[in-house]
């Protein structure tokens, strides 16, 4: 492990919201999270990418919702009473925007220390490594820390934004 890598890894230290996709544990830094809600009625929007499920009304604001499973090219699953939406904040040139991601189940808010964090492995992960920020080992579980900024490209964000 190089020095830079260690710095990078330690820089990921902080509070993460953990959730499940395909029974795998994922984590998102709470700084990017606006709110967590149960899945409401979703209004579908035509001519959008497949992973865009539609929009929801969040206290007067129109928020596009994407299915993270589809985004990560995982098999789709029907929504149930544990399916939740995590509303994320994005800083663009046009200002701050909100996008909801649909996850199987939210678990808890965890403090992840730098000793628990490892760099992105080169193999053994089903996801495109560009989405992965780091891996953490907490309470005998492996949590994949997602790099929210890399989930969507800028064009994708524009496209998503258009769908509002």
């Amino acid at each position: 492990m190089t020095k830079k890598e260690i710095v990078e890894a330690s820089s990921h230290e902080g509070k993460y919201l953990t959730f499940n996709l395909m029974d795998e544990f994922f984590g998102i830094n709470v700084e990017r999270i606006l709110q967590i809600i149960a899945i409401p009625d979703i209004t579908q929007i035509p001519k959008t990418p497949l992973f865009v499920k539609g929009v929801i009304n969040l206290r007067g604001k129109i928020v596009p919702v994407i299915d993270l499973r589809l985004r990560f090219k995982l098999p789709e699953q029907e929504y149930n009473d544990r399916t939740s939406i995590v509303i994320l904040k994005f800083q663009t040139e046009k200002g701050e925007i909100f996008i909801g991601i649909i996850v199987d189940k939210v678990i808890e808010v965890l403090d992840i220390h730098k000793k628990e964090i490892e760099n992105t492995p080169t193999f053994g992960v089903e996801l495109d490594t560009k989405f992965i920020q780091a891996m953490a080992k907490v309470k005998n579980k492996v949590v994949t820390l997602i790099d929210v900024g890399n989930i969507f490209t800028d064009t994708e964000l524009i496209q998503i934004q258009k769908s509002k």
């Binding site: 967590i36 809600i37 808010v109």
Partner: protein, 664 residues
Amino acid sequence: MLKNAKIGAKLSVGFGILIATVIVISTMTIVAFTKVNEEVINLVDVNLVKLNNASTIESLVKDQLSAYKSIALGEDYAQNRRIINNSISTNNSEIESISKLLNPENREEAALWTTFINARTAFRTAMTIMDGYIEAGDEENILLYGGNEFTKRQTDYISAVMNFADFQAENMNSAGSSIEYTIQKSIYSFIFIIILGLLVSITFAVIITKMITKPLTECVDIAQNIGSGYTDIKISVDSKDETGLLKSAMKNMVESIQKMYNDCVILSKAAQAGNMQKRINASNHENDFAKLVDGINGILDGVVYPMKETMEVMDRIAHKDLTARIVTKYPGDFEALTNNINLAAQTLEESLIQVDMAVEQISAASNEISSGSQTLAEATSEQASSLEEISSSLEEINSLTGNNADNAKSGLKLADLAVLAVDAGNEAMEKMNNAMEAILKSSQETGKILKNIDEIAFQTNLLALNAAVEAAHAGDAGKGFAVVAEEVKNLALRSAEAAKNTNDLIDEATRNSEMGSRIVEQVTKSFMEMKDQFNKVKSIVNEISASSDEQAHGVNQINTGVNEMNRVTQQNAANAEESASAAEELNSQAAELKGMVGSFNISKKHTAVGYRYTTQNQKALNVTNERRKTPTQLTYQKSQKAYEAKPETLLPLDSLDDDFDDFK
């Protein structure tokens, strides 16, 4: 006197009496007829003429009067005068003929006749006066005289004539009565004479006829007796006429026949007594009878010689020498006789040979029968014991059948109870089902509540997470809040856990209830099926009960049949024993017979004769073999026979044979 007279004399006496009677009757008839004839002649020739003449006179006088009346009236005088004259002349002739016929002895007639003559004379005088007046034409006097004197005279005249005529008529009447009396007397005389003659004639005829016919009838009887074959006839000659001669001739004939008959009887009795040497003496008989006697003697001789030889041969045969034969040749029927005797001896010999062989066969056959009968007796006793077993088995079956019927009845009661129990169970199951449904309902209600609790816990969890996120955003200031959020989250998780557990329990309860419901349904269905089955059981039990009754009836019938079989079997056993003893007796008798046959002298022709009877012998042996092969069949047939022999002992079953067929 008459008895010894010839038949001609007897007949002459009889006919003489008859002829004398006829002569007497004829003479009497002639006398009577002559007398009657005289009287009739007197009547016709005298009295009738007198009467007729008197009547003529009367009518003529009446004519004269009418003529005079005509004249007085002036009619044709000449004609009337002629009538008067004619009548006068006729009267004269009539009077003349009467006077000739007058009976001078009869005074009354004479007096009447005198009166008549006087009346006539007076009338003639009156006529003369009348004629005088007529001649004179004195019509006054004619009428006066004619009316008085003339008419008076004429009336007197007519009355005189009529008196005379009446007298004659009376005379004739008395003459007729006399004739009638004469005839009557003659008839009585005739009847008396005829009866007397008939009595005498019949008496004589009967006596004479009897004298002739009695001996003839006796002779006819004798002849008929002889004709009928009787010879012992007594004839007594008691007259010397022709019948007496006939009887004495018949007596001679009968005596000849009797003599012949007696000799024949003596001869035949001697022959019957076995004395064939007795002969009839021919010199005692004459002519054809002598020849007949010679013939009879010859017949005896012809019979005696062959008989003698036959006797000798028969004696030998009697002493069991069956080889004896008649060797002399005799003519005619005796040849046939001797041949027949020889043939009989030969046949007897052959028969005895055959008997000898047959006796051996009988002996063998009786042995067979004896052993067969013993086998039969054993089989019958086995059969009897089998029948005993069958009988006791039947009694067991009978009691079992009774038990069956009782059990069926109690089974029926139990089935009824079971049906009731099933109904009760069904009702209970329905209640249980209702209870289950109620449980299910409340479980569902509880599930809804739990869902709400779960929802609330989830929301609380989200709230806690949001609070944690917010607390993180707040940095160090949010640390305490983060702890609270953590606590809230834990509570939410515990709530969710508890709700989940409760839900699992509720789910299980629901599942159990549903399962219970299904089970109840199944149980109900089973109960319904059970009810059906119990009903079926009931009908089956009923059938069993009826069948048991029928079975009991059938068993009784079988029992009767078995008893009958037992009886027949006993009879069979008795028959078999009898048969066995009969066979033994037959055997001993066969041995005896064999001994008897052995005592005959028949050895000479044994082989030749034996060969002749080989085929029959073979047949007899075959029969014996067949018997040996099928002793059971024989006994069966025998029992069958015994069974058929007494049809009245048959049981009154519908079809006995069929019933027994069922048990084969």
